[in-house]
């Protein structure tokens, strides 16, 4: 055996430690900037005023039954979740990923229910106190993050969540307290319910994106699918006089837009992004043309769809804050919740979903195992289009009772952002859509009560949130590996 000669570098540590990551200051710097901005705005520049938040819809009394019911459910849920957590701990492994957030949600419901039981309908918060409180929390968390960074650790997820909540609360109190009145008031219930309403088309749009992109087809045409859905729903419902026919027409129209995308990109291998953009422009042109010729000529016969009213589930709809969100929705709203759950379960817990994800990640592998790649992609794209089409029907059947030019107003693109923000996961896309809907609704609510920021800046809010979200505020998100790359055998 020979001896080692010349410049032999002998590593001092064990090889496992070789891959020690370099220190990343991204998170501490980002959090630090936000904390400082928050401190200056919410703390230093907080007025002496207070902000009042209504917990119950204006014009409705608090329902004691609903509050008690919510209390009972919250206690039971919290108890069960804590037990599950405890048991997981005993078993020596961490709790399943969904348990901590679910427990947090149960606690929030519990607090709200207690407020409801106690008959509290309005909470008034002093801007200065809350502003400084949130500032302290944010600065502390940013500091902790900076302390952890050189040690190679990251802020735990609950820390990030706490930071986000502190910022949100501080921001809300600050901006509401800046209103014109002596004690400016907004209805928190209305704010949240409105946010969900505005988010409906976004959720459908981003689910469409999830279905297409998980199978490897980039769907930029969400905007076109929403708009086509809105148009077809209006015309279909008016002509037949049935909202359900309108819904079906919307799904078919969305699927037709997808059909073009699927055929052109799968069969003719055209760049999917370009096809998507072209489809969006095409749909805008087509609907504008049909609107200004046919619909304007005969609005009564073609563009006066019946309204799809909200369906209220008794008692449950009266639970403070949450009731209206979950249990006082239009049919489209309920369909949204169902779609999120079905797509999530379908993608991650069924045979179909496993194949879809495999096709988006490694089509060749799927092919060698007997999965028909292009057929899977085709049907997923069609299904995505149908879902986005139903989302589009929201515009003409729920929000406004007539079609007007370009009424989707770029929401398809926001849905695309929600899809990325939500990391190509149906639940994530749903939550991201809610955030965008919230920013959108907050903007209009604040404009009404008057705000320290010019209304133009408020109008930018949803888009600023989008930019930060997509720029990777939530960390690195990983798209399906073979997204946008056509699969050609051989």
């Amino acid at each position: 055996m020979s001896t080692a000669t010349t410049a032999t570098t002998r590593p001092d540590e064990a090889p496992e430690e070789v891959l020690a990551p370099l220190v990343s200051w991204k998170a501490p710097i980002g959090l630090g900037i936000l904390a400082v901005v928050g401190t200056v705005m919410f703390g230093v520049f907080s007025g002496g005023k207070s902000a009042a938040f209504g917990l119950v819809d204006t014009g409705r009394g608090a329902s004691a039954v609903a509050a008690w019911l919510a209390l009972a459910v919250a206690i039971l849920a919290a108890a069960w979740l804590s037990y599950a957590w405890f048991r997981a701990r005993r078993a020596g492994h961490g709790p399943a990923g969904w348990i901590p957030p679910a427990l947090a949600a149960a606690v929030v419901v519990f607090v709200l229910a207690v407020l409801g039981v106690a008959g509290v309908t309005v909470i008034t918060l002093g801007a200065r106190l809350i502003g400084w409180l949130s500032a302290v929390v944010m600065l502390a968390l940013a500091g902790w993050s900076a302390w952890l960074a050189p040690r190679g650790h990251k802020l735990p997820r609950w820390g990030v969540a706490a930071f986000a909540i502190a910022f949100l609360v501080g921001f809300l109190v600050w901006i509401v307290a800046g209103g014109r009145d002596a004690t400016p008031y907004i209805s928190l219930a209305g704010l949240l319910a409105g946010a969900v309403t505005l988010a409906v088309p976004l959720v459908f749009g981003s689910l469409s994106g999830v279905l297409c992109e998980r199978s490897g087809i980039v769907n930029i045409a969400i905007e076109g699918q929403l708009l086509m859905g809105a148009f077809s729903a209006a015309v279909g419902a008016t002509v037949t006089g049935s909202v359900y026919a309108g819904l079906i027409a919307a799904a078919v129209a969305g699927a037709l837009v997808s059909l073009v995308l699927a055929v052109v990109s799968i069969k003719y291998l055209v760049n999917q992004i370009i096809v998507g953009v072209v489809l969006n422009v095409l749909v805008v042109g087509l609907t504008n043309f049909l609107f200004s010729t046919l619909l304007t000529a005969n609005p009564e016969g073609l563009n006066k769809p019946p309204h799809l009213g909200s369906i209220e589930i008794p008692v449950l709809a009266d639970v403070p804050l949450i009731g209206p969100i979950l249990f006082r929705q239009s049919l489209v709203g309920y369909l949204m919740y169902i779609a999120v759950i079905v797509v999530y379960v379908g993608l991650f817990h069924t045979k179909w979903g496993l194949r879809v994800r495999a096709v988006g990640e490694h089509p060749q592998a799927a092919d060698t195992l007997g999965v028909n790649v292009n057929r899977t992609r085709f049907w997923n794209t069609i299904l995505g289009g149908a879902i986005a089409g139903i989302g589009g029907s929201f515009f003409t059947l729920v929000a406004v009772d007539a079609f007007s030019k370009e009424m989707s107003a770029g929401r398809g693109y926001i849905a695309l952002a929600a899809l990325i923000f939500g990391r190509w996961n149906p639940i994530g896309a749903f939550l991201a859509s809610l955030l965008f809907g919230f920013a959108d609704n907050l903007q209009s609510v604040i404009t009404i009560i008057g705000s320290p920021l010019p209304s133009q800046f408020m109008a930018m809010l949803p888009y600023v949130v989008t930019v930060f979200a997509v720029a990777g505020l939530v960390g690195r998100s990983r798209p399906p590996a073979m997204e946008g790359i056509p699969y050609v055998k051989g």
Partner: protein, 546 residues
């Protein structure tokens, strides 16, 4: 299970990839397909696996003709395939990958991954695979990923297993383990088709060897056939398997790397504190399993990485921090590991590719204009000198075969006076005949007095060329050892032992296998009678299967 291919022909347009191939694979037999890259082995197996439809011919399973319209038909007939490039979804768990396509389901299409996990544990236990069903595939070492591929086939009750170049990505130790696994599979009654161009492995594992050249069966050979004979069957003319290069005559040390560290975007140190020198007239070969920092090391020297620290000096000048153009200007010739991606512009002509880094200077340029006549002259010279097989200098480089593309890259990089020559995977995907030629050119450059750095994942190539061998593992240098260091020791270093540890580990092992010494001697005697340098034949594994 008996498998027979009769007169299989596969044409792609005018190209005949398989020309009337007959092949019979008997029950419980390891049948090796030996052939160069591009000989048509993989095409044949893709036909067998239902990925391609044969233009002519028929496939018989247990003497009954079958027609495969897709891989699922082949799998149903009991054929499983482990592809050269693994067909595994990196972000899936082992269980998800195994389940895909043959999912165990509960009611309404819900996945029953527990059933799959149980099957994986069962197979793992039976063959000693040690695979965790819940591990993410991307986190697994390549050798384990390969086992997942084998499990995939076994779960589908494959009775014939096709292994396409299975050792290309493995360390020598992993290769030994694989050969053991093949032995066990054979013992349990599976037939195996083992595709390779590596004589050593084929001889170690085969019951029957079929040699394929240019889409045709050249003939069968027993595993005892002489390597030189097998090689000439593969290539179609006599080849010499050893270079018999003269010993190096190192002169001044002009190239020095000190404490070079490269950080990946995610903060990992992909090259970590690497220090070495290369003298003029010496070849330093960098060995290691793919992905242990070799790519980054060479590219950092070339100046492609911003996050590189330490020092790289050539003739006393610091190269680190300078632009790629400056580095090339300092006299560095660089052959990248992926020629079609980094080494050539596929759509450019051969002539243009031959002056890719020289186009802007005399004699190929005058002021702002280029001089096509000089470019053409250069092309004619280099095509002759390097024996580049091309219809003309004006065809796109992408139309050439891999070996000829590599010759274009090599010709370009060697066409100017060099102060340092770096070649990554200089013969990857190149036919045996061209390998010999390219190796001789590299030796010639060394004898010219240029410091030469070779990066290769092929131990054969390392052994062939190296005057000294540096082994990289996870971005760190495990040591620099002299050329001719035994394979086993290099293998241990490639798996993360330092030179000292590997030496210490080797000694007792050598003593322990003393009992099998007679056998070893036999192997060596046989080897020397072939005139082949097989000093450290994988005789351990040979014993288990021989």
């Amino acid at each position: 299970m008996k498998l027979e291919l009769r007169g299989i022909t596969k044409r792609f347009g005018a190209l005949v990839a398989n020309d009337h191939i007959d092949l019979v694979v008997e029950d419980s037999q390891v049948h090796c397909l030996l052939g160069e890259n591009g000989a048509g082995k993989s095409t044949l197996m893709n036909v067998l696996y239902g990925l391609y439809e044969p233009s002519e011919g028929e496939i018989l399973v247990d003497d009954k003709p079958v027609a495969f319209r897709g891989p699922s038909d082949a799998m149903a007939a009991g054929i499983g395939m482990v592809h050269q490039h693994f067909m595994l979804v990196p972000v899936f768990t082992v269980a998800e990958n195994v389940a895909l396509g043959a999912e165990a389901t509960k009611a309404a299409g819900f996945l029953d991954l527990d059933a799959t996990r149980a099957k994986i544990r069962d197979i793992s236990k039976r063959y000693g695979f040690d695979v965790d069903p819940d591990a993410l595939v991307e986190d697994l070492p390549v050798g384990v990923q390969q086992r997942v591929e084998i499990i995939k086939a076994l779960v589908r009750d494959a009775r014939i297993l096709i292994l396409d170049e299975p050792t290309a990505v493995l360390t020598p130790q992993e290769t030994d383990e694989l050969l053991e696994i093949i032995g066990e599979l054979k013992a349990s009654g599976k037939s195996i088709i083992f595709i390779s161009h590596k004589l050593r492995e084929v001889k170690a594992v085969a019951d029957v060897i079929t040699v394929i050249r240019r889409g045709k069966v050249v003939g069968d050979a027993p595993p005892s056939a002489a390597p030189a004979d097998l090689a000439s069957m593969m290539v179609g003319r006599p080849v010499s398997l050893t270079l018999n290069k003269a010993p190096a005559e190192p002169k001044d040390t002009t190239f020095a790397v000190r404490d070079l560290t490269v950080a990946a975007p995610n903060g990992q140190r992909v090259v970590d504190g690497v220090t070495f020198d290369i003298a003029q007239g010496e070849i330093l070969a960098v060995a290691g399993v793919q992905g242990n920092g070799q790519t980054e090391l060479t590219e950092a020297i070339l100046g492609l990485y911003k996050h590189a620290s330490g020092s790289v000096t050539l003739d006393g000048n610091e190269l680190l921090g300078r632009s790629v153009k400056d580095v090339l200007g300092a006299g560095v010739g660089f052959v990248p590991e992926d020629r079609s991606h980094d080494g050539l512009v596929g759509a450019f002509t051969v002539a243009e590719n031959l002056v890719l880094d020289l186009y802007d200077r005399a004699p190929f340029a005058r002021g702002l204009g280029m001089r096509p006549s000089r470019v053409a002259t250069q092309a004619a010279e280099k095509i002759a000198e390097f024996d580049i097989r091309t219809p003309s200098a004006d065809v796109p480089a992408s139309t050439l075969s891999g070996g000829n593309q590599q010759k274009v890259v090599m010709a370009r990089e060697l066409s100017r006076p060099l102060r340092l020559f770096i070649a990554s995977q200089p013969t990857r995907g190149v036919d045996v005949g061209s390998i010999e030629f390219l190796h001789r050119r590299i030796i010639a450059e060394r004898d010219n007095g240029t410091p030469v750095m070779i990066v290769s994942t092929e131990l054969d190539e390392i052994m062939e060329l190296a005057d000294r061998i540096a082994v990289l593992y996870r971005g760190r240098l495990m040591g620099i050892v002299p050329g001719g260091t035994p394979r086993d020791m290099l293998g241990l270093m490639m798996a993360g032992m330092t030179a000292e540890e590997a030496a210490a580990h080797e000694a007792p092992v050598a003593a322990g296998t003393g009992a099998a010494g007679a056998d070893d001697d036999g192997a060596h005697r046989a080897a020397s009678s072939f005139g082949i340098d097989v000093v450290t034949d994988d005789s351990d594994s040979g014993d288990t299967h021989g």
